[in-house]
C-alpha cells in the first residue's frame, strides 16, 4: 500500500514540526501548512488523503477551511484538532463532514489510528 499522504495544518509552528516528524518516522508522507492559504495550496499540489486541521488557524478559520476542502473534494478526510473543549465548533465540524476530531495535547497512537481509519474510508469511497 502506498504511503498515506497527510496534510497537517496548525499555526503553532513547533507543535506542527514535531508532530510532522513523528508521523514521518511512522512512514506517513507529511506536509505542513500554517495558514488556511498554505493549506489550500497543498490541497491542490500535494493532494492529501487526510488533512489534520487545527480549528484555530489565522485568516480563514478552521471550520471555513474544512468546508472549502470538502467542497473541493469530498473524499479527502479531515480530522479536526482542537486545543480546548470547543464543543460547538466540533459539532459544527462534524456536521460539515469532518471524519473525526482529536483534542490537544494529542496521543500519537490515537491520531495515527484515526488517520488510518480515514484513509481506509477514502479508499473505499
Amino acid at each position: 500500500m502506498p504511503q498515506t499522504k497527510v496534510l497537517l495544518v496548525d499555526d503553532e509552528i513547533e507543535f506542527a514540526s514535531a508532530l510532522a516528524e513523528r508521523l514521518q518516522l511512522r512512514n506517513y508522507d507529511v506536509k505542513v501548512g500554517h495558514t488556511a492559504i498554505e493549506a489550500m495550496g497543498f490541497i491542490h499540489q500535494f493532494m492529501p488523503d487526510v488533512v489534520v486541521l487545527d480549528l484555530k488557524i489565522p485568516g480563514m478559520d478552521g471550520l471555513e477551511t474544512l468546508k472549502t476542502i470538502k467542497k473541493l473534494d469530498p473524499t479527502i478526510e479531515v480530522i479536526m484538532l482542537t486545543g480546548h473543549g470547543d464543543v460547538l465548533s466540533v459539532e459544527e465540524g462534524m456536521k460539515s463532514g469532518a471524519f473525526e476530531y482529536i483534542m490537544k495535547p494529542i496521543d500519537i497512537g490515537e491520531l495515527t489510528s484515526k488517520i488510518d481509519k480515514a484513509k481506509k474510508k477514502r479508499i473505499n469511497a
Binding site: 503553532e12 513547533e14 507543535f15 514535531a18 508532530l19 516528524e21 513523528r22 518516522l25 511512522r26 484555530k56 489565522p58 478559520d61 486545543g83 480546548h84 490537544k104 495535547p105 494529542i106 500519537i108
Partner: protein, 221 residues
C-alpha cells in the same frame, strides 16, 4: 435598584475570573501539547536508533524548544499568581504598566479567539500609583470586554498608559469596524463603573472614535 447593581457586579466579577482562567488553562495546555510532541519525538528518535553524532544538533534543538515552552508556561503562571495576590490588600502602591501588562497577557487569548489583536503602548517611568489595582483591572476588563464584543474580526485594541500632572491615565483605543450599535452599550452598566471610579477617586471619559480614558490620581483615593 441596589440589588440589581450588586447582581450585575457579581456577574461581571464571575465573567472576569472565568475569562482569565479559561485563557490561562488554554495557553498552558497549548504549551504542554508542544512539550509532549517534542519529548515524544526524542523518544521516537531513540527507539528508531537515530543515535549518531550527526543527530546531536537535532536533539539539542528539540530540547531547546521544550525549554522555551516551559519558559512561556512559567511566565503565564507568574502573571496569574500576581493577579491573584493583588486581591490580598485592597489599596497598595503599584506599577500601572505591570498591572495592565498582566491583565493583557491573561486576556490575550480571549481577544485572539475573536481575531482581535490586544496591544500595549506604555509610557515608561510612570510614578507608582496608590490605589486598588484589582478594581482597576476589573474596570479596564469591563471596557475591553465590550469593545472586543463590539469589534468585528481583524480589529485591534491598544491600551496606552501615560502620566499627566499628578495623575496617570489608561487609554483604551479600539481600531476596526464595530458590528452595530454603541461599543459600550454592553453588559456592564454605567452605574457599576461610576461606583468603581468613585472608589478609585479617578475619572472616566469617552474620547473620539470610541476611545475610553481612565485617569487615576497618583496619590491615591
Amino acid at each position: 435598584m441596589e440589588n440589581e447593581n450588586e447582581e450585575d457586579l457579581k456577574a461581571l466579577q464571575l465573567r472576569f475570573v472565568g475569562k482569565i482562567i479559561a485563557g490561562f488553562t488554554h495557553e498552558i495546555k497549548n504549551y504542554l501539547a508542544i512539550i509532549k510532541e517534542s519529548s515524544g519525538l526524542i523518544g521516537d528518535m531513540i527507539k528508531m536508533g537515530k543515535l549518531s553524532e550527526n543527530d546531536v544538533p537535532e536533539y539539542l534543538e528539540i530540547i531547546q524548544s521544550i525549554e522555551d515552552q516551559i519558559g512561556n508556561a512559567i511566565e503565564h503562571f507568574t502573571h496569574l499568581n500576581r493577579f491573584s495576590h493583588r486581591m490580598d490588600t485592597q489599596i497598595s502602591a503599584f506599577n500601572l504598566n505591570e498591572c495592565i501588562e498582566e491583565l493583557i497577557a491573561l486576556l490575550n487569548r480571549f481577544a485572539r479567539q475573536k481575531k482581535i489583536v490586544l496591544a500595549t503602548d506604555f509610557q515608561q517611568d510612570l510614578p507608582p500609583v496608590k490605589s486598588n489595582p484589582s478594581m482597576l483591572q476589573l474596570l479596564v476588563f469591563s471596557f475591553l470586554e465590550n469593545k472586543i464584543a463590539g469589534l468585528e474580526k481583524n480589529g485591534r485594541i491598544t491600551v496606552r498608559t501615560g502620566a499627566v500632572d499628578n495623575a496617570v491615565a489608561v487609554k483604551i483605543i479600539p481600531e476596526g469596524t464595530f458590528a452595530e450599535g454603541d461599543a459600550d452599550a454592553g453588559t456592564t452598566t454605567g452605574k457599576i463603573r461610576e461606583n468603581f471610579i468613585k472608589q478609585l477617586g479617578g475619572n472616566i471619559s469617552q474620547g473620539a472614535a470610541k476611545e475610553t480614558v481612565i485617569t487615576l490620581p497618583v496619590h491615591g483615593v
